[in-house]
């Protein structure tokens, strides 16, 4: 404010006199300069009286406001069917466009503007964009692409435009693959678009390994299967001769750990997804091993081992070696999951009397309990970003999938149903997939996914009855 104007000016005038004295080295009285000084001070005071009020009214600088809440709605985008640049690419262009749209709209973060509403039509990939036409239909992003068949390969090129800034968002890109992999091409395009708009990496070009289930509840047959994240391209990895449980991808997506009952007791097997060859991991005779998971570097696994009626956590090198114990308590410790940096492990234990979540160092040691809410907590999984832990919670006869910070704070329940369990994170840590089982004799397990905001809960189509999903990393 300007309230100090007069004082400041008066002081400034006095200071000016003193400064001049200092400059000239004058220290004595100044009879002949007294008048001048007084004059200056008087003038300064006058100026203050005249200008002060005017300045008090004036507002300096820009008007400043703060917006603390806005709206949460999907970002409207336009995706004209990609231009077929060669005569034989028409169907492929259409299919690829539809998969991209399904990927983007399926996140719940984007909303496609139907092609019938488009004003500008793209007859060629290089046509200039008429931004007003897209603003008129409230499109905020526009994706333009072209598809061609060249030398037996599908070639896709695309550009992304920010309509309201009237410019291209990032560079255009071109991808090529065999026609059989056209869905991966579409997923890759969608990943790039998602990443440029949201600022975080995508998760569309990824796969999910899960337990495919058939048959009635009391005689269910289970086998391992892998599919695209959206349920397409399902492939079976094992037959249904033995029960299999809890598959987990390796960090590079090339191997899968799972629990099998082929010996009559739970044992851990590792399967190479490239040749579908599975091998039993070594074990101590007379024990049962289950709930395995890779370390972030893929070099070792952590798992539960039951020995003499007590279950503890152990770790072992992937290529063999003697297992080493991580916990040693009479309680049941299971469902271990590494932090992304591999330094800590979160797991569930009933050492407090009920099933709760604990964190300890990756090398073992005294665990710290992090869950303190009502009910029981289980199957914790550390987020790829490292900031959250997803879990299953059972409380008041219902099951929930929830997330909490790694110190147990900010617990949020994302779902609620008769039976939700077994969360797994998308590669970018934005989405959680889990198993939802419906009640009744005819009920079955299905895969569902939900955004970590709790929105966009939806079923994963195309995989039928399924449970125990585990998301792969983004494919190369």
């Amino acid at each position: 404010m300007i309230t100090a104007s007069f004082g400041q000016i008066f002081a400034a005038a006095q200071a000016d006199v003193m400064r001049r004295d200092a400059e000239t080295g004058y220290k004595g009285p100044r009879p002949e300069r007294g008048m001048a000084s007084m004059m200056r001070i008087a003038l300064a005071a006058l100026a203050a009286l005249m200008i002060g009020p005017a300045m008090a009214q004036a507002q300096q600088g820009p008007l400043r406001i703060e917006i603390t809440d806005g709206v949460i709605e999907p970002l409207p985008y336009a995706l004209p069917t990609f231009v077929a640049e060669t005569g034989d690419a028409g169907q492929m262009a259409n299919d690829i466009t539809r998969v991209i749209a399904a990927d983007l709209s399926g996140t719940g973060l984007f909303r496609e503007i139907p092609e019938s509403a488009h004003i500008q039509r793209f007859g060629a990939f290089d046509m200039p964009v008429s931004y007003p036409d897209w603003q008129a239909i409230n499109a905020q992003a526009l994706i333009v692409g072209g598809v061609s068949m060249q030398g037996g390969k599908v070639v896709v090129k695309f550009r992304l435009f920010d309509i309201y800034s009237g410019q291209q968002l990032g560079d255009g890109q071109q991808l090529a693959a065999s026609p059989a992999s056209w869905r991966r091409l579409a997923h890759k395009v969608a990943d790039v678009i998602y990443s440029r708009v949201t600022g975080e990496s995508g998760y569309f070009d990824s796969r999910v390994v899960f337990v495919s289930e058939t048959g009635p509840k009391d005689a269910r047959q289970k086998r391992l299967a892998v599919a695209d994240y959206d349920g397409a391209n399902i492939q079976y990895l094992t037959d249904s001769s033995t029960i299999v449980l809890a598959p987990r991808f390796s960090p590079d997506g090339g191997r899968v750990l799972y629990t099998t009952f082929e010996t009559g007791f739970p044992r851990i097997k590792m399967l190479d997804t490239r040749n579908v060859a599975a091998t039993l991991l070594p074990e101590i005779p007379g024990t049962m091993t289950f709930a395995p998971r890779f370390s972030p570097d893929g070099g070792s696994i952590v798992y539960s081992m039951e020995q003499g009626g007590n279950t503890d956590l152990w770790t072992m090198g992937v290529s063999g070696g003697s297992p080493s114990r991580l916990t040693n308590s009479p309680a049941i410790e299971t469902a271990p999951s590494y932090s992304p940096d591999g330094s800590r492990i979160v797991f569930e234990s009933d050492r407090s009397g009920t099933q709760q979540l604990y964190i300890m160092s990756a090398g073992g040691g005294e665990p710290t309990r992090i869950s303190f809410g009502e009910g029981r907590y289980g199957t914790p999984v550390w987020s790829p970003r490292g900031d959250l832990i997803a879990f299953t919670k059972q409380h008041a006869g219902r099951f929930h999938i929830g997330v909490m910070r790694t110190d147990g704070s900010e617990e949020r329940l994302l779902t609620a149903s008769f039976l939700d369990e077994g969360p797994t994170w998308s590669p970018n840590g934005r989405v959680i997939m889990f198993t939802r089982e419906s009640p009744g004799a005819a009920g079955g397990a299905q895969l569902f996914s939900v955004d970590i905001s709790g929105r966009n809960l939806k079923k994963v189509d195309g995989v039928g009855a399924a449970s125990d999903p585990a998301w792969s990393p983004l494919l190369p």
């Binding site: 917006i67 709206v71 200039p128 009635p216 391209n233």
Partner: protein, 392 residues
């Protein structure tokens, strides 16, 4: 009536009122609860003969439970359909062995070739062809870009140039003029250095280019219409141009009184302006009211969509500055991020884009701002703080 009578009357009145109040209210307050009405059970008397007749009829009851039993078997037939339902997907298990034997043809991921960004970017998409503006008719000869003014230091020719505008700096004038009596060439050169800088430009014009264009630079007559909004370069250059000659021409000794006032004013102004980063231009008229600010906030937040923001961007607060046109519409080209906190560069960029979209979308029809207070909102800083929008 003496005092004693009054007191007596008063006490009597109070007591009477009390009694009346007790009768009216106390009765209902202290009334005992009415006892619950006694419920009478009607009983009919039957004769012994009737009773024995009823007992004789009793054996029939043993048959009823038998009749109820069949109800339980029923659920079993109901369960039967369930196994039958399941066999529908059952056919699958039969060909089960296949997957094991057949090494799963992993989708040939190897053939997905890496990104080749270069090919697409070669033709940067452009806006629609610009509309042809007939403005060229007025400026056929000149380039739209202003021709740099002659810099006398470079061109030693005295010329007439200094005469018209050279007195921009009042302080310099007394010194420059007196010397004019001497030789024109050198006398003019000196004052130029002191007084002319405000006229000088950042470009040095050589003698070669200077000669003809100098005569032609009657810019105002044919200046082209500004193409886009000039990115407000005006204030800064004029300020520095005006301030410099004053400082340069008169070191310290001139007028102490005005000096002191100037200093004090400058100090006061600086203090006033600090923290706002303002343009230094004093606004006039009453300030924008809280209600008017609120209307602006409501308008902007309606378009601030954070739905597609990453969780990190939702932890980032960004401050955007935008220059406004008098009609309440934002100058799109002027929107800039002046600061952010709480996130990475990438997150800030996403948050900036979301804020920018909000300004552009809702500003396209003009913000509800009072035109008479334009000086107060010619520039707006908007802080987008997504604290309330975070996932909780």
């Amino acid at each position: 009536m003496d005092r004693a009578d009054k007191i007596g009357t008063g006490v009597s009145a109070v007591l009477h009122l009390g009694v009346i109040a007790w009768v009216l209210l106390g009765g209902s307050w202290f009334k005992p609860k009415p006892s619950e009405p006694i419920v009478m059970q009607e009983v009919s008397v039957i004769s012994e003969a009737e009773f024995s007749a009823m007992v004789a009829a009793a054996p029939k009851a043993s048959e009823t439970p038998v009749a109820e039993m069949p109800a339980q078997p029923q659920p079993q037939p109901v369960e039967q359909p369930a196994p039958e339902e399941a066999p529908v997907p059952e056919p699958q298990p039969q060909p089960m062995p296949e997957p094991v034997a057949e090494p799963e043809p992993q989708p040939d991921m190897s053939d997905l070739e890496p990104v080749e960004p270069a090919e697409v970017t070669e033709v940067p998409p452009s806006m629609m062809p610009p509309v042809e503006v007939p403005q060229d008719t007025t400026t056929p000869d000149f380039s739209a870009r202003p021709v740099p003014k002659p810099a006398p230091r470079v061109a030693p020719k005295p010329a007439e140039a200094p005469a018209p505008d050279a007195k921009v700096s009042e302080l310099a004038e007394p010194e420059t003029r007196p010397e004019e009596s001497a030789e024109p060439e050198q006398v003019i050169e000196e004052p130029k250095e002191e007084a002319a800088p405000p006229e000088a430009t950042t470009e040095i014009v050589t003698e070669a280019t200077e000669t003809e264009e100098v005569a032609k630079t009657s810019a105002p007559a044919s200046s082209a219409r500004p193409r886009t909004k000039p990115a407000k370069p005006a204030p800064a250059p004029t300020e520095t141009a005006a301030a410099k000659p004053a400082a340069a021409t008169k070191p310290a000794e001139a007028k102490p009184a005005t000096d002191a006032v100037n200093d004090a004013l400058a100090e006061a102004m600086a203090e006033e302006a600090q923290g706002t980063g303002g343009t230094g231009r004093a606004a006039s008229g009453p300030p924008v009211t809280a209600g008017e600010k609120e209307a602006l906030i409501v308008d902007v937040k309606a378009c601030w969509n954070v739905g597609a923001l990453s969780s990190e961007a939702l932890r980032t607060t960004v401050t955007l500055r935008v220059a406004m046109n008098p009609d309440g519409k934002p100058d799109i080209g002027s929107i800039e991020m002046v600061g952010y906190e709480g996130g990475s560069d990438a997150a800030a960029r996403q948050a900036y884009e979301a804020g920018r979209r909000a300004i552009v979308r809702c500003g396209s029809d003009g913000f509800p701002l009072p035109a008479e207070k334009y000086d107060h909102w010619r520039e707006i800083e908007i802080v987008f703080n997504p604290e309330k929008m975070r996932m909780k």
